[in-house]
Amino acid sequence: MPVTVRTFTSSGDAAAALSSDRSARYLGGGTLVMRALNEGDISISTIVRASDHALSRIEATGSRVTIGAGVTFARILAERDLAFLHAPARSIGGPAVRNMGTVGGNLFAPNPYGDFTVALLALDAMVSVQGGLGSRDIPIEEFLQGRERQTGTLVLSISCQKPGQTDAFRYRKIARIKPKGGSVITLAAHLPVNGNRIVGARIALGSMAPTQIRARAAERALEGRSLDAATISAAAAAAAEGTAPGDNALGSAWYRREIVGVHLRRLLSGQE
């Protein structure tokens, strides 16, 4: 059966087409879907596209930013108001992939990809999706836990609060090949400080489980404390707790568990 391409002007129509056809996939930048098609993935028979401008809109002037699902990483890098997201955007692929790859697609990128989503998870983003029954906002953590069931929905945008202080948000991707390699592990930390105490710590990890996950034990070690050596050590020691990394060509599960604490320590203590 040949592959059918369906293009819609409204994201609502595109979402309806997605939810009514199990073999349909939404094509954003194509860095995942076209690769799958080229490699012979016959589970995809319909490609759905939407030319809705809302999907490529960025609202970043206020304290809360909203990024359309179709916004590319190249556009994030060109946006001064999104400076806090430049490090994760720059860590993805090479210039060609950043020109095509989108924020929405990254939410579905399997290991060892999906680095931008690690940053969004640490920032407690909301994912706005349109399903057959209308649009709704889902916390990103919940979205990722049910990611396999989200294929019939269309992601419209993501939104998150800008970090209050610039050093409250930190990001680090560990790759063997720089600058374009896949992730061995990826770490992001959001550590808002109130009167020298961390309030609302969020640590997110990539390649440490089938989807991006939070390091809750490390978060607990940081919560309510000041970021001193003892706190950092406690967080680093707890980094691997609750994780379920896998083996792949870039690293073994054992190796990932061994290094996650080391890199979390470096991230929290500001070491290069």
Binding site: M1, P2, V3, R35, N38, E39, G40, I42
Partner: protein, 528 residues
């Protein structure tokens, strides 16, 4: 920046050369920088069909049953090709120079020996339809015991990977299970050395990762000929390989290649051309067969992994008196070119150093891994890595500067090499001296004054007494056998080719032109 050190060996070199040392324009550069170089995949022919192969999901398994009935009925499928359709479904690349036994089918018949081995080829109107038909092919596997480690493969009782080589080692000169080098008495010298250092070095397979994946397009031409656009990096080698597998004279083909989108050794194996041409023969239509990226990375042949053991005896003054090397080349399930890599490796021992006692054993071993092939200096690169790591460790052991240690042990003109040939035009000492100078690495005056042309020969030209080794007769294989193994007799004839393909029969105007007796100084004389 290129710097020619014309002061060194000035009297040995003719400086009036027309090309060497002078800039020259590459003939393909203009096409590359303007994006006009033609690649094989730039030919979109009318009515072109697409070929894809069904690959084994097991590393070692008997093929109980291959059911293509549903795939044959799938939309867009023009032809299913099975092993029995390939005129000569057993080949080894270097059979063209009479080296090695035919050991690899184009499409697996009785069993598969590595994960990803092609079993069935499907020719369809589109790639998509070929992929959909692949999903409809049902293969009943009976998994067999696997072996992935070179030393495990040599142990008694190891699974037999390839029945053509029942001891899991390539057979040299129809007798030997290894390449062997003996010079002096390494065991005795190791016993009397001041220090002995034994180390193990393990390499990984390396994928060539070309930008353009392996592929070809074959189309029927006039007069029963076929035009073949190909990515091969060894065009005439591929022509003859296809002529042999398809059992037609090589002038049946008009191969057009030359522009290779990255080869590095990964495009000599002629993996796509035979099936592509066969598809064109069986359908009368142009056929395109191109590896996907995952196929290229997973099943395209890599540089093989080597395991190397080096045991050196060194004296307190820094002289290496003995070097014992054991190397295992992981050929994967089929020979391809690894047999030749082991020959090159043995010819390279013990590195560019004069060592009076050398003992070398180099094995080409079969395992259930993806077959390995050529890649930039294969056979030598890994061994040099191991030897030079070892040289640094030895220098550290005797407390010498590593540069001076290499100069001290470097071969010089007139020395006897372990292969019993006199060393000529040696230049390692000068290379190390210039490298040290460029790196601002201080070496002592006496080492700066040493020369490849001084103090060689004399006692260093002697061939030391080499104790004879009792050659144990090659034992019958003791490995675990499957019902698919051929009898363990030393049969030197390749098994009879499978029956010719069913209708329509590809044209076979004349008898094939193979069978000439050839001679090679490395491989000897052999009639195919």
């Amino acid at each position: 920046m290129l710097e020619l050190r014309k002061d060194i060996f000035a009297d040995e070199r003719d400086d009036n050369l027309k090309e060497i040392g002078k800039p020259t324009q590459r003939q393909d550069m203009l096409g590359h920088v303007t994006g006009t170089s033609p690649y094989f995949n730039d030919h979109m022919l009318q009515g072109m069909l697409h070929l894809k192969v069904v690959r084994s999901t097991h590393s070692h398994a008997r093929l109980r049953r291959i059911d293509t009935s549903e795939a044959e009925r799938a939309q867009g499928v023009r032809r299913i090709i099975r092993g029995a359709d390939v005129p000569v479904n057993l080949n080894t690349l270097l059979s063209l120079i009479n080296f090695g036994k035919d050991d690899e089918p184009s499409l697996a018949v009785d069993k598969v020996r590595y994960k990803g081995e092609p079993i069935v080829a499907i020719v369809a109107d589109s790639e998509r339809e070929a992929f959909e038909a692949i999903a409809k092919v049902k293969i009943d596997y009976e998994p067999l015991a696997t072996v992935f480690d070179v030393e495990d493969a040599l142990k008694p009782g190891a699974p037999v990977v390839n029945e053509v080589y029942p001891r899991n080692t390539f057979t040299y000169h129809e007798t030997y299970d290894r390449q062997q080098l003996r010079f002096g008495d390494a065991d005795r010298a190791l016993a009397t050395a001041d220090h002995v250092l034994e180390q193990r070095y393990q390499m990984s397979p390396i994928e060539h990762a070309p930008t353009e994946t392996n592929g070809s397009i074959a189309a029927p031409d006039t007069n029963g000929r076929y035009i073949v656009y190909t990515s091969t990096q060894a065009l005439f080698f591929s022509v003859d390989t296809c002529a042999k597998i398809l059992d037609v004279p090589s002038n049946t083909f008009h191969f057009i290649g030359g522009t290779v989108g990255g080869g590095f050794g990964g495009k000599v194996d002629t993996l796509t051309e035979p099936l592509c041409i066969l598809g064109a023969m069986l359908t009368g239509r142009p056929v395109r067969y191109v590896f996907g990226r995952e196929e290229e990375m997973q099943y395209g042949p890599p540089r093989g992994a080597e395991r190397i053991y080096i045991k050196d005896g060194v004296m307190r003054d820094g002289r290496i008196v003995a070097r014992n090397i054991r190397a295992y080349f992981d050929s994967g399930a089929y020979t391809r070119l690894s047999s030749y890599a082991a020959v090159k490796c043995a010819a390279h021992l013990p590195g560019p150093y004069t060592i009076p006692n050398v003992h070398g054993d180099v094995y080409c071993v079969f395992t259930n891994r993806t077959p390995a092939t050529a890649m930039r200096g294969f056979g030598v690169t890994a061994m040099d890595f191991a030897i030079e790591c070892q040289m640094d460790k030895l220098a550290h052991l005797v407390g010498m500067d590593p540069m001076e240690f290499r100069i001290l042990n470097a071969y010089r003109d007139g020395d006897m090499k372990a292969h019993r040939r006199e060393a000529k035009n040696t230049a390692l000492i000068e290379c190390v001296q210039v490298a040290a100078e460029k790196a601002k690495w201080p070496i002592r005056e006496e080492f700066r004054r040493m020369s490849s042309r001084k103090d060689g020969g004399g006692a260093r030209a002697a061939i030391p007494a080499t104790p004879p080794e009792s050659h144990a007769p090659v034992a019958a294989p003791s490995q675990q056998r499957t019902t698919y193994d051929r009898a363990p007799v030393a049969t030197r004839e390749p098994p009879p080719p499978p029956p010719p393909p069913s209708s329509p029969t590809p044209p076979r105007p004349n008898a094939p032109s193979h069978g000439a007796t050839r001679f090679s100084s490395v491989f000897g004389t052999r009639r195919r």
